[in-house]
């Protein structure tokens, strides 16, 4: 017998009392979603900025290797996406459009459609996500309702920059992934 069948057989031979699957209530939060979202992102060591601040950030640092996939943001230098993600290794900034944000934890939903190359939000040195504040939802239950049966090969809830506390529990931002996360909240 294959391992598959022997594992499944073993399980079906065990009598476990049948238990129903519970329904999940909404647990709506009443708070101001925008304010809660900003607090969450800041708690995760990200920053919420506006378009002017984004412009300043790009200018002051004189970034030259920038990829912008967010339609409403115009940047002067904009590199084309390479075919191979390895070529992104020295990318300084990636600007990506987020689909929606979750107020309770700052998580932003992205799929293949937004990233084009799945490595993009991780390998870039700095990550900027553009998000329409009207898309904010309160919590993860509503978030998954919103995702519904959307079919993406890869989906990501991203809530902050890469971080670690593996050395004596001291928080360090910029472990293996992006060293910073800036969220540009827009209201169109």
């Amino acid at each position: 017998m294959s391992s598959r069948d022997s594992i499944l057989d073993k399980i079906s031979s065990i009598k476990v009392e049948r238990k129903p699957l519970p329904e999940i209530p909404d647990f709506e939060v009443a708070e101001d979603l925008r304010e809660l979202f900003i607090r969450s992102i800041e708690g995760n060591k990200g920053e919420v900025i506006d378009q002017t601040q984004l412009k300043e950030f790009l200018e002051i640092n004189r970034f030259i290797k920038v990829i912008c996939l967010a339609q409403e943001i115009k940047v002067t230098a904009n590199l084309a996406l390479p075919d191979d993600a390895h070529e992104l290794n020295d990318l300084e900034v990636a600007i990506i459009q987020g689909q929606f944000g979750v107020a309770e934890n700052g998580a932003i939903w992205l799929t293949d459609e937004n990233m084009c190359l799945r490595a993009l939000p991780f390998i870039t040195e700095h990550l900027v996500i553009v998000l329409d504040e009207k898309t904010l939802v309160s919590n993860m239950h509503v978030a998954y309702q919103k995702i519904g049966d959307q079919h993406a090969g890869f989906g990501l809830f991203i809530a902050g920059p890469s971080k670690t506390a593996d050395i004596e529990q001291s928080l360090v931002i910029g472990a293996q992934g992006a060293k910073s996360l800036r969220v540009v909240l827009t209201n169109l």
Binding site: L8, I11, V16, A85, N89, A143, Y144, A175
Partner: protein, 452 residues
């Protein structure tokens, strides 16, 4: 060596063990603080527990559904009855791709299967990419905690280690500097690896997708740069519906580290163009545990580590004292299921204070199962005296450490603690709002009753 003997080793460095104790307590405290900001916290724990109950009652059906959907999405699904078969499957995929160097991200399952030494024997270089895991890998040690693998080490030791392995400045102990050095070192490994291995936090039957949650982004750096992603998943990681993720993601990081969510929560549904995803579904003792009525609930574990952070024994004895892949309270009920002789002392490494069960996000009755294992082990002593009686006796007699702490904590003394042990960690514990109920009988009483 029994738990107590190893615990005594750990306690030799008093300053370090005190730091360990207090640091984990601090993490526990963060978990408390954030859980109190969620009014429905207790309801979420109930839901998570009920969902997992349902999973355990229909595991075969969900596994078949998961497999079918994953295959539909272009994922290759493999089944392994034990660690050996798991390792062989992984190796054969690597061989098909002529791959001699891989990157791996936090996977307790691959630790459980001893994948690293197996691959290394077969000429494959394995690089663990979680910072804490890379540190312990350099030291040839297993992780001492399932969420904080290097929590037993001080920055001084890590600085010396990195000076040796990564040529960092001698004596530079700055965590940011050391983390940056590891970043550069690992970046190079990510860029070269053709195959990346990850663990799995949740597999969703309804969609065939699976989730990997990290804060460092190391799992994603590995898999998105590699051509092949191998995801190793214990069969108990299945959840029925996508919307169940809402419940589990709200609980996981808050319970683990006191943060509202991990920074990266990746949902893998199908491979990117021209790439491959493999899932290895692993039994390795899980079906046996499912068949043990009293202990099957241990399979609900989502590996958050909260029971370790709160456990007065774990905090004071360190992860290595358990000698098992998963240490702490949950490890002490999972490990005897794998090898009751080898791990006979673990169920005794507890005060039965119940704090683990109080914090567990999926409401596993951990302390009750510890008690049950003690019964089983004691019973085994009577029925099969020749073969394991000595081991069992060791399990019971060789626990002066657990016994001492039990003595201090258990004898109705949660409220009035002796001065000698009233330092902050313990004190806070005593004052804790979710004060664990005093156990009905002391270890001594229990032992008296059960030894005959």
């Amino acid at each position: 060596m029994s738990h107590s003997a190893k615990a005594s080793e750990f306690l030799k460095d008093a300053a370090q063990s005190k730091w360990h104790d207090e640091t984990l307590w601090f993490v526990r405290d963060k978990r408390d603080t954030i859980s109190k900001t969620i009014p429905e916290w207790e309801q979420l724990r109930d839901l998570a527990s009920q969902i997992k109950d349902n999973v355990l009652a229909h595991l075969d059906g969900y596994l078949v559904e998961f497999e079918k959907n994953a295959q539909k999405n272009g994922i290759k699904v493999h089944w392994a009855k034990d660690a050996e078969e798991h390792n062989q499957i992984v190796l054969s995929i690597l061989q098909q791709h002529n791959c001699q160097a891989i990157v791996k991200s936090k996977s307790i399952l691959t630790e459980e299967c001893h994948l690293n030494p197996f691959l290394e024997q077969n000429g494959v270089e394995v690089v663990d990419t979680d910072l804490g895991e890379r540190i312990v890998q350099f030291l040839n040690q297993p992780p001492s905690h399932i969420v904080m693998p290097a929590i037993h080490l001080k920055k001084k030791e890590i600085s010396a280690l990195f000076h040796d392995k990564l040529q960092t400045e001698k004596g530079n102990e700055d965590p940011a500097y050391l983390t940056h050095a590891a970043r550069l070192h690992l970046r190079d490994k990510f860029l070269r690896a053709k195959v990346a291995i990850t663990g799995v936090n949740f597999g969703v039957a309804e969609t065939g997708e699976f989730l990997v949650c990290t804060n460092e982004g190391n799992a994603d750096m590995g898999v998105h740069l590699a051509d092949v992603h191998i995801a190793c998943m214990g069969i108990e990681k299945i959840i029925p519906r996508r919307k169940d993720l809402g419940v589990f993601l709200r609980l996981l990081a808050r319970s683990a580290t006191g943060q509202p969510i991990t920074n990266y929560n990746s949902h893998f549904r199908s491979p990117a163009l021209g790439k491959e995803i493999h899932i290895v579904l692993v039994d390795n003792g899980r079906t046996a545990q499912l068949g043990r009525e009293k202990f099957k609930n241990s399979l609900k574990c989502i590996r958050c580590g909260a029971c370790m952070n709160t456990c007065p024994i774990y905090r004071r004895s360190g992860g290595f004292s358990y000698g098992s892949v998963v240490p702490g309270p949950i490890g002490s009920i999972l490990s005897p299921g794998l090898d009751v002789k080898k791990y006979s002392s673990l169920p005794f490494a507890s005060t039965l204070c119940g704090s683990c069960s109080d914090v567990c996000p999926v409401k596993i009755n951990i302390h009750e199962q510890l008690y049950e294992w003690r019964q089983e082990i004691t019973k085994a002593q009577g029925t099969n005296a020749k073969s394991i009686s000595m081991k069992i006796a060791n399990g019971i007699f060789a626990v002066p450490f657990a016994y001492k702490v039990s003595g201090a904590l258990m004898r109705g003394a949660l409220k009035i603690l002796p001065d000698s042990i009233t330092y902050s960690g313990l004190n806070t514990w005593g004052k804790q709002r979710e004060l664990p109920a005093s156990p009905k009988e002391s270890f001594k009483d229990w032992y008296k009753k059960n030894r005959s």
